[in-house]
């Protein structure tokens, strides 16, 4: 039995069919010790069944190690939403509000949607290093899709940025490492963080302002949005 109602399946299928380019979901799972793997596979199977514009490539995290290392996948379940680029990935089972995030990630990739505007251009040209953005989310968090999509669109705009959406409940150790007890929580390079969601342009502006701080050596952690204040 499908997870989506017939009416929803049709709607989503039409959304996918309208995408200018196709999207591949590259899924890493393993049989043992992975609670979310089966569910994630079912969800992605169902989505891939709705349109030939969405392809699903299944990899075994334990045996396809070369691919996994090339993709820098650290946990399972994980999947890469691969359209024009490979820079957006999701760790965990995309359910609840995360499912709506997933749909947006796919349609964005299929339409080549990226963050845009002068603030984003400024970031892209100032970027002197690679950045990893992690966004912690939960299935019941209504602000989370916005935070996740903003990170993904920044990644789509800049080859140096990778966005990782992390289902916080499914990876308690990781959540604990970043002291996540509130979502959405966005963490950049383990040194910058903020709670809540901001538009992509604001995110880009703050990141540009924070680049010098990231280049300084040290383990100090700061609120990214504090770089928006004029005195920062």
């Amino acid at each position: 039995m499908g997870l989506l109602s017939a009416a929803d399946a049709e709607k989503v299928g039409r959304l996918f069919q309208d995408m200018p380019r196709s999207v591949t979901l590259r899924l890493y799972t393993q049989r043992l010790n992975c609670e979310g793997c089966l569910d994630t596979e079912r969800i992605l199977d169902e989505l891939a069944g709705l349109s030939d514009k969405v392809k699903l490539e299944k990899l075994n995290a334990l045996t396809d190690t070369d691919r996994r290392e090339a993709d820098a996948v650290e946990f399972v379940p994980a999947f890469i939403v691969s359209g024009a680029n490979d820079r957006v990935r999701f760790y965990g089972t995309p359910s609840g509000y995360e499912f709506s995030t997933l749909l947006t990630l796919i349609t964005d990739a299929g339409a080549g949607i990226a963050a845009a505007g002068p603030d984003v251009d400024a970031l892209v040209s100032a970027l002197n290093r690679d950045l990893r953005i992690r966004v912690f989310v939960t299935p019941t968090c209504p602000h989370c899709p916005r935070a996740a999509v903003a990170a993904a669109r920044l990644a789509a705009a800049s080859p140096g940025i990778r966005a990782e959406i992390v289902e916080a409940e499914e990876f308690p150790a990781l959540s604990m490492r970043y002291s996540v007890q509130g979502v959405p929580r966005t963490v950049v390079e383990d040194r910058l963080f903020f709670e809540g969601a901001v538009p992509e342009t604001v995110f880009a502006k703050a990141l540009t302002a924070a680049l010098p701080f990231l280049s300084e050596p040290g383990a100090e952690v700061r609120d990214l949005l504090s770089f928006l204040e004029p005195d920062a």
Partner: protein, 317 residues
């Protein structure tokens, strides 16, 4: 670029409109729908929280005319009604607004200045802070203003909810599905919440309520560990793993403080529901002191503000 996201440039290359609405919650969206139907050139500066508070609410049962629904779905329909009627949405925050000599308004937003003949303030409200020690420090690490978002981190744990109104009670009920124990701390001796909710809360076996009690301090090291309370029996410290705060809302009126008169509580002063102290500025929804703060009242205020702006600009006969 998606339709409706492109700021139209006026002949002089500036962003200029008949009416600008600040805020993209139910009040702003309803204003936009009406302004579009009035045929006015207008834009919504929706700030950083498109959809407003309502979009973040899991379940809305009391909006007349839709069955029980989610905030996201209800707001989604409102937004697409406005979009398809021709509204321009800008995901920008207003930082200041002022009257221009010789007429018109200058609105400062993230993307630069915007000019308008009239302004509708519909910036709603954000959760009020308690202002106690530890609250700021542990925000995101045990202190939360959104149970719907953060409840899963407190599975099997003991959480405290501060407040006694609809929101506090709704969210405390939501937390009972996750936490092993929910302690509601309320400074009065009765709940202000509607009985349909209050009765359900008081009947819940995993909830206890501390009446006539105030939270004084949130304590811990890397996360929340305990709460210091002022109870009728004196001060006491109880162990909790999280604190959810629902003690009202703070109107988002700072950018407009120099433009229109505010009430003592920070809400925009209004008469005839939507008129402010400035002729060409209108206010709608939770940002006003209009009685009852709900989706339906915000939507009605928005429609009224749009109608008033239309008449004010002389386009309504």
């Amino acid at each position: 670029l998606k339709a409706g996201l492109i700021p139209p440039a006026s002949s002089s290359g500036e962003r200029s409109f008949d009416v600008v609405t600040a805020g993209g919650g139910p009040a702003g969206l309803s204003a936009a729908l009406y302004l579009s139907r009035y045929g006015m050139r207008h834009a919504v500066l929706e700030g950083w929280q498109p959809g407003g508070q309502a979009a973040l609410t899991d379940r809305i049962e009391n909006y007349p005319g839709t069955g029980p629904t989610t905030g996201e779905a209800l707001i989604g329909v409102m937004r697409s009604q406005a979009l398809s009627a021709g509204t321009v949405f800008l995901s920008e925050r207003v930082s200041a607004a002022s009257a221009v000599d010789g007429g018109g308004l200058l609105i400062e937003a993230d993307g630069g200045p915007v000019h308008a003949r009239a302004l509708i303030i519909a910036t709603g409200a954000a959760p009020a802070r308690l202002g106690v020690p530890g609250e700021e420090k542990f925000y995101g690490r045990g202190v939360s203003y959104c149970a719907t978002c953060d409840a899963p981190f407190f599975r099997g744990r003991h959480v405290m909810v501060v407040g006694g109104g609809d929101s506090a009670v709704k969210e405390a009920l939501h937390l009972t599905s996750f936490a092993s124990r929910v302690t509601l701390v309320h400074r009065r001796d009765a709940l202000r919440a509607e009985p349909a909710l209050a009765d359900r809360l008081l009947a819940s076996p995993s909830v206890d309520v501390l009446w006539n009690t105030r939270l004084l301090e949130i304590r811990g090291t890397s996360g929340v560990e305990s709460a210091l309370l002022d109870t009728p029996g004196g001060q006491s410290e109880i162990q909790v793993d999280g604190v959810f705060v629902y003690v009202g809302r703070k109107p988002a009126t700072e950018p407009f403080a120099g433009l229109v008169r505010l009430n003592g509580d920070g809400t925009v002063w209004t008469r005839d529901i939507v008129l402010t102290s400035h002729d060409c500025v209108f206010a709608a929804g939770d940002v006003t002191s209009n009685p009852l703060r709900q989706v339906v009242t915000a939507a009605a205020d928005g429609a009224r503000a749009a109608s008033a702006a239309w008449h004010r600009l002389g386009l309504g006969g």
